[in-house]
Amino acid sequence: MLGDSSKAQEVFHTTLREAALRAAQGELPREPFWLFRDARWRCLDATKTDLQPESLDLDEHDLAAHVASQIEELEPTQLAVWISGAPDPQRTALALFYLDEFDYQEILDLGELKLNELSRLLAQGRRQLQAWLDAKRPQQGTV
């Protein structure tokens, strides 16, 4: 969500500290995933004052059959930076989806999205990532 480990750590600790305080005061919400929702808003808040990426229409490519090998060549931090550079709510959608910890209904709830929105954001994210991968290293045999 942040692409910056120090910021991530700060948000993480702030979220836990607030949760502990609320627990001590008996004010923990009953709704599921409130902690994740809280953490997400803190992440968005932490990047509000940062330099925002220019709103560009990124290239989009169809997913290639050999995409797995392209992704394997990526550094994890490169992917983290790419996802954190996406505008919200796409960033939230991609981050929650690829954590592979939530089903789509939980992501809709957490990200306050509708099914069509989530579907569009994920599909667009895949195509944009594929285009970025293709730009980084055009595959052999690609015309």
Binding site: A68, P76, L79, A80
Partner: protein, 258 residues
């Protein structure tokens, strides 16, 4: 079936299809995935998602944060001890309840052991003995065993015999009276330790009318008085005195005592 032919919702669902098949949340998602499983487009999407998810899991987590997700227990729970368990209010309440129930049960069992046919009447007569004064009885100075004839001839009471253990004691007085259930009770006052003897009808089975017998001597206690009771020929005999069981036991021959 090609993706384009899928309904719009199903297409939306497919775009959100889980990376792991164990996260197929609902039937509509399962149906959409099942229909698209054979399509190349969907297979590419799944390969793409799996590869990205694997890489996401390799994104380094700051060590200070990673500590929170270590497999060690963050807070070690206090050890379970008997003392701690005993102080648990629920355990304490249950224990007290069990002890009370056990106590009542033991009391009832012990009470049951002391019960015998006629024991209730015997206790009432102990109360009578405590309140009787010598002037209430007809003065009779004789041996106790001779009063059997008096009870039979004067009052028509059959088998109101004083047992051999008390037959030779001198009497001060005697009377025959009816209790609240109209049973005829013979009462004898002895000079020996101001002991009183009672003869009363034995209890009977209300259905068959048969005498409810019990063997040997049984003891009852009431308000500082003790009674030794036996049954013979459908009549109960009780020797009563102020004191306890030991005071009576010495009068009862060891061969007949229980």
């Amino acid at each position: 079936m090609k993706m384009l032919r899928l309904l719009r919702r199903q297409r939306a669902l497919l775009n959100c299809a889980p990376i792991s098949h164990d996260r197929l949340a609902d039937s509509s998602m399962r149906a959409a995935v099942a229909r698209a499983d054979d399509s190349d487009e969907f297979r590419n999407q799944q390969n793409f998602d799996r590869a990205v998810a694997e890489l996401v899991h390799l994104i380094p987590i700051p060590p200070e944060t990673a500590e929170w997700f270590s497999e060690k227990d963050l807070a070690v729970g206090s050890k379970w001890t008997w003392r701690k368990m005993a102080r648990n209010p629920a355990v304490l309440a249950i224990s007290i309840a069990v002890v009370v129930i056990a106590g009542v049960s033991v009391f009832q069992v012990l009470s049951g052991l002391n019960e015998f046919p006629g024991s209730a009447t015997a206790r009432k007569l102990l109360t009578v003995a405590a309140s009787t004064r010598p002037v209430m009885l007809d003065p009779v100075s004789t041996e106790a065993e001779t009063l059997s004839d008096l009870f039979f001839m004067k009052h028509g009471l059959e088998h109101y015999d004083v047992p051999a253990e008390f037959a030779d004691f001198r009497t001060i007085g005697c009377r025959v009276f009816e209790d609240e259930e109209s049973r005829r009770i013979a009462q004898i006052w002895l000079a020996e330790k101001r002991m009183q003897l009672f003869l009363f009808p034995a209890e009977r089975n209300p259905k068959t009318g048969a005498v409810l017998r019990f063997p040997g001597w049984r003891y009852v206690h009431q308000e500082g008085w003790a009674g030794a009771v036996t049954e013979r020929n459908g009549v109960c005999f009780m020797a009563a005195l102020r004191g306890n069981e030991k005071d009576l036991a010495s009068y009862i021959s060891k061969t007949t005592a229980q």
